[in-house]
Amino acid sequence: MTLLFLLVAAARENYFTEWRSTQREFRSLLLSKAENESDVKSARSFNVEIRQAVIPDLASIDRCVSCHLGVDDPRMADVPQPFTTHPGAYLEDHDLDRFGCTVCHLGQGQATTRLEAHALSEEVYWDWPVLTGPWTQATCGTCHDPTHLTDRGAPLLGLGLAAFQANGCLGCHKLGGRGGTLGPALDQVGDKTSHSLPFDHVEGDRQVWTWHQQHLLSPQTVVPDSTMPAVEGDAKTRHALTIYLLSLRTTNLTESLTPFDRYQRRYRIWHTEPLSGAELYEQFCQACHEDGTETVFHDSLDVTIPGIMHPDFLATATVEFLVENLRLGRAGTPMTAWAEDSGGLTDDELERIAEYLLESRTEVREVTFEPVADPDVENGRLLFENECIDCHELNADDGEAPWLGSPGFQATYSDPLMGHTIKFGRRDSLMIGYGEEEDGDFTDRQVSDLVAYIRTLR
């Protein structure tokens, strides 16, 4: 019996292996394709043995070619998988012996069965399922600059990057140290495996790309307490954006394998080609502030977002005032502090955003309000509780109107500016001018009391 079991084990290992029968099949394919003597000869000498690409620099051993035997044989273009010729010109730039397969296609290179090498099944315990078809473009972006590849074999990757910028993802997510702090940084989002993502509400295959596509379509369906807005665009946009997200992986490439544009991409992250104010606004501001002319309620963030291009706001604004506001942000609210050490924007860039905002200014008004010398804080409190507290609540997350205790607000609004704003309000909004005769009847003294009280808010 012992002997019998040993025999079974030997037969299983030495004869009934999947790759052996695949290779035997390929040998007869070679024979049937043979056109001349030498073809027949080389087909006859085809040995059934494990074939592999060992790439020490990538720490990879890829046995994919044990079954995908026709990848570099142009005669196999019409033969079905696993023997098909590799499409496109990819292998010309990426010599199989230098790069192997898994550097682009992932999957489990060491494995010797189809199921385990592709690792698409949940029964196979491998973190990186094989990427096929357009999904492979994701790994192009891991080494290359996406903008270089739009007409060189990875069009969707470039499309994904464009969608990433157009949707203003950086308004909440950091990449390369630049971006908002509301969402998680995305630098290594492609390193996430299906085990580190919540699949409770995801339909279909348990694959990272399924997760991303559904999450982009409807973030709250996939992550119920998410505050992320749905991405604008069609299924193709989400497909492309997912490819771009999956490209954001860590790799440790040795010098010899690093493509020239990887350095360019690195360089560009740190030495950004100057973006115009409008481009910066699109990438960093627009996701929340939209076109900026009106105060809007943001559904998924559950917060009111001030219209930063409101004419009355811009009327009294200066570049310095706006830059300071951008630098400090509004701690305690979703508004990120965009200074270089937090949101990652340089003073130059902030200035360009400020200048861009001021481009739409229609009138300039001097701040003429002058607070009285001895304001009554207690009276200010009573006034505030009567008139203001319904919208400007005392806690950061409650109010429909901006939170006045925010350090950024306190630091950038001078007493006269605050008084001016209370007195004249914002036209066509809920913030009326309380010192104007038709709207309210606060005296300058009462406004001063209010300003003094608001100063005490934290």
């Binding site: 079974v8 084990a9 290992e13 494990i50 046995r63 489990q108 919540p198």
Partner: protein, 505 residues
């Protein structure tokens, strides 16, 4: 003058047979004498006595459990050495090297499967062997010390299996060891409760000693590897030598006293009217020849056939298991993605269940009480009768059965109660942890079992019966808790009837 040449030619001709004769160093196996020589002139066999008692060969007595354990150990050693050829004990390479062993190393997959299955087999069989030795009363004088050695061997077996668990460096390994080490560092619960941790932290010491760091990493891997392939095996084989040697010195396997002195059946029909006496020792054939005065047979070949049969059976068993089930290998270890539930190796899941009540009691308190209890059994039960008989007779079997039923009811009852209604923490959320440390299902079990066995001692007026009661309760508790921990505990250590009911993700 040519006689030397002739002799040389003759020597050449006889070389094969002479060489073989020096290897065998005995005559043909036709007499007891040459059979004895076959044993004692052979380094590898001479640990056996030349005669073996028939009782020791009875399948229903030993079930060959000790031999099975030894056979599994042999397989595990051979396959382990082969695995070491390819295994690389560093976090970067360990996982990939196991993958290579699985996918590409000739026979590697089988060898790894055999290693795993015989390791698990060894744990199971060592437990059963202990139960056999206990229930047949074989720990009695003069075998107390060998019982002690056996308990140490059990602990070493578990330690070997546990240290081997980390080596594949996959998620299963990583989190099982994390849990295992958390169990080992559970004195923290007590020192925390007493506010001593800052000054005296034995839990943290054990942890750092095992891991060489605060979490499982490269240092832990090299330590576990060293323990697994060198330190623990040295101890195990040394103690195993002692264990075997003690068997010889303690007079072979335990057996009932009576049959030895009885006449072999059918040998001599006694006439009640006559008296008998030994008149003379005679040469040549006599009625006693071939009948062994103490009901023994020659070890060669009977015992060795048995041993070979058990080795073959053990091999066949693990071969079949290895063909049918691959040793698991999950994703590569990822400290950022905890497994939920993270489970220790299965033989520690009973402990993990206890740990879920109280880390200190489950991880240290109760295991130490049990271990000390097991070691002390031969010194607390010093009765004489019933050695070599299962349960020492009818009364013992009855006590074992009632204890079995009693402990089943207690364990399952309390377990069901805890699962449905919770425990002190759920009822009084603000209760100090020290209370739960001392009053939890684990300590309740221990106390109930101890009282039960005291009651049995009183009722049957026998320490042996008390020991049987306690040991049965321990065994039942261990098996049921291990079973529940293995099968019915899911994410967050919640109870589920089957894995299909686990929440997704």
């Amino acid at each position: 003058m040519y006689s030397a040449l002739r002799a040389f030619r003759e020597n050449l001709r006889q070389l094969p047979s002479n060489f073989w004769a020096t290897v065998r160093r005995r005559g043909p196996l036709k007499s007891d004498r040459s059979r004895s020589q076959a044993v004692f002139s052979n380094l590898f066999l001479h640990i056996h006595s030349v005669k073996t008692h028939k009782h020791s060969l009875k399948v229903s007595y030993t079930m060959g459990l000790g031999l099975f354990a030894a056979a599994f150990l042999g397989i595990v050693t051979v396959t382990g050495i082969l695995l070491m050829v390819y295994y690389k004990p560093t976090p970067d390479q360990a996982y990939a090297s196991i993958k290579e062993i699985h996918y590409i190393v000739p026979t590697g997959r089988m060898i790894r499967n055999l290693h795993r299955w015989s390791a698990h087999g060894m744990v199971v069989v060592v437990f059963l062997h202990m139960a056999r030795v206990f229930y047949t009363g074989s720990y009695r004088r003069p075998r107390e010390f060998n019982w002690f050695v056996g308990i140490l061997l059990l602990a070493l077996t578990l330690a070997l299996s546990f240290t081997g668990y980390l080596l594949p460096w996959d998620q299963l390994a990583y989190w099982a060891i994390t849990i295992g080490v958390n169990i080992a560092s559970s004195p923290r619960e007590l020192t925390d409760a007493l506010g001593l941790t800052q000054h005296f932290d034995p839990g943290g010491m054990i942890r750092r000693l095992l891991l060489g760091a605060n979490s499982v990493g490269a240092e832990a891997l090299i330590r576990f590897h060293l323990l697994h392939v060198m330190v623990l095996p040295i101890f195990l084989f040394t103690l195993l030598g002692v264990h075997f040697w003690r068997i010889r010195k303690d007079g072979g396997l335990s057996r009932p006293e009576t049959p030895d002195t009885a006449e072999p059946e059918g040998f001599f029909a006694k006439n009640p009217d006559k008296t008998y006496g030994l008149m003379a020792v005679v040469r040549g054939r006599s009625e006693a020849v071939g009948k062994g005065p103490e009901n023994t047979v020659s070890s060669w070949p009977t015992l060795f056939i048995t041993e070979m049969a058990i080795l073959m059976a053990a091999t066949a068993l693990v071969l079949a298991l290895s063909l049918a089930f691959d040793a698991p290998l999950k994703e590569i270890a990822n400290p950022a993605v905890p497994e939920n539930p993270a489970k220790a190796p299965w033989y520690f899941l009973g402990l993990q269940e206890l740990v879920s009540y109280s880390a200190f009691m489950g991880g240290i308190g109760i295991p130490i009480i049990v271990l000390i209890g097991l070691i002390l059994i031969p010194y607390l039960d010093r009765e004489k009768g019933g050695v070599g008989i299962w349960f020492g007779g009818k009364e013992g079997a009855r006590v074992a059965l009632t204890s079995f039923v009693f402990s089943m009811v207690v364990v399952i009852g309390l377990l069901a109660f805890v699962i449905n209604f919770g425990w002190l923490r759920q009822w009084f959320p603000a209760i100090p942890q020290i209370l739960i440390t001392f009053i939890n299902p684990g300590t309740v079990y221990s106390l109930v079992f101890a009282l039960w066995s005291l009651w049995v001692i009183r009722r049957h007026n026998s320490t042996r019966m008390g020991a049987i009661a306690l040991f049965t309760c321990f065994l039942v508790g261990y098996i049921i808790l291990t079973y529940v921990g293995t099968v019915h505990r899911g994410p967050n250590w919640d109870f589920y009837w089957s894995k299909a009911d686990w929440p997704t993700h």
